[in-house]
Amino acid sequence: MNTTFNIHDIRKDFPILQRQVNGKPLVYFDNAATSQTPRQVIDVIVDYYTNYNANIHRGVHTLSQEATDKYEQARQTIQRHFNAKYVHEVIFTSGTTHSINLVANGFSALLEKGDEIIVSALEHHSNIVPWQMLCERTGAILKVIPMNQHGELEMDAYDALLSESTKLVFVNHISNALGTINPIKHIIDNAHQIGAAVLIDGAQACPHIKPDLQDLNVDFYVASAHKICGPTGVGILYGKEEWLNKLPPYQGGGEMIAEVTFEKTTYAGLPHKFEAGTPNICGGIAFGAALNYMNAIGFEAIADYENELLDYGTEKLSEIEGLKIYGTSKNKTSVISFNLEGIHPYDVGSILDKLGIAVRTGHHCAQPIMNYFNIPGTVRASFAFYNTKTEIDTLVEGVRKAKMMLS
């Protein structure tokens, strides 16, 4: 494993980076949608199914015990990574969207008509729709923190929205569409002053930042493994113990019960109360392996390198006439969302794909942001620590070619 940041060695860890797409070497710049998987994590997945695949927690046999141990070790790895106070504050889910829905569902029992929920203008649909549904169920009111033209949230407006009626605040740590890093410490502290709970969506932040959840003093934090070099279909809900105890269980089933009779069921304690059914055992174990892999490289080294890529990419793309970048906050991660004047992002993405360059085009499940800028969508190039400046050169060349063909 890497002890110092060596891009040449790191790229060797990712077998997929060797493949060709449409006859060209793959340039993978869709990291904000999903990250690629290093050999170290793939090996853990293969090892699980080769050597100790078994259902966990209830089996007396050796395989079940081994699988349970590894799964619970992964939970501890995640606890340490995020600096959660207790290991039972880490709930395994199928991913960020599941985690958000779990909390939204739980709060439907705690909210009353006229209560207020605050979300931000920068949210992913998965952080808007569950709250709209929650408001419909409970009669609560949804308020929105506005953003400015740089794609930054307006903190004065946020402070003005806070009131005694505010019960919950939901904001992403980093915007998926624009890459803006939001001032979550301010958001959390001010919400707490009026007694509101805060959920931070860390899906986009965790590939770049190692959040210290006790220091942030956040009530809920959610993330997905597949954006942090782990597999798809697994993620976490972190919740402070007191909050998780207040929320009712989300789904009924095996694993989440203590005792069942036809008259009454008593629920299991944390974290199992929220983990009904057989979980994604292999996924959870691989999630732990992915965090170990990234921590061995080091999040500071990762952030430094990605910032270098961001600066380089921003400079080079900005040289293209008629190219406009959306999301120009000084405080952002390695995401460049852009359009060519008068050209649909879908067309640009189609040409780039022909050149072996994977970017995302469209509204990035953040239509309110696109409406704000009055555009149908953007082309989004998102860089990871295994990308290179040479790849950015290929992108810039591809964008120039697309512009020439489409103008």
Binding site: I343, H344, P345, Y346, D347, G349, K354, G362, G377, M405
Partner: protein
């Protein structure tokens, strides 16, 4: 009057002259740029076939016993493919449209645009063309 099959063969012929994807795409982009495909009054919300990425509008009219299609998109490559589809399916009898296949798309190297997961509205557009044909066919019967 050319049949749908004859028009498809003609298009396959034209595309066989292109040497690589760039020439094919450039041709489609040029087709997309050239054609005013739909009357502005028909570019309504009702006529939108929503794909995930680019918008596609389709309008159908019956002229005697043939259907005239017009369509448009906000993305130029999509518009180019629409131009090809209109050339194939417009001014044809409903029955011919219902029975027609779209294998020629494969043969001119544009298969990826018709993948149902591509979400550019084109698969839905072909479905919509056929739905119009079925509706008009029912009227003729």
């Amino acid at each position: 009057m050319q049949s749908i099959q004859e028009i498809q063969d003609e298009i396959i012929d034209e595309f066989s002259m292109f040497e690589d994807w760039e020439e094919r795409y450039q041709y489609m982009i040029d087709l997309g740029k050239e054609l005013p495909l739909i009357q502005p009054q028909y570019k309504t919300e009702d006529n939108i076939i929503k794909g995930c990425q680019s918008k596609v509008w389709v309008h159908a009219e019956m002229n005697e016993d043939k259907i005239a299609f017009t369509a448009d998109s906000d993305a130029i490559i999509t518009k180019g493919i629409i131009a090809i589809l209109i050339r194939v399916f417009s001014d044809q009898h409903p029955k011919e449209i219902i029975d027609a296949n779209t294998d020629f798309i494969d043969q001119i190297g544009l298969k990826e645009h018709l993948s149902p997961t591509r979400a550019n509205g084109l698969v839905s557009m072909i479905k919509q063309l056929k739905m119009y044909a079925i509706a008009y066919q029912t009227q003729l019967n």
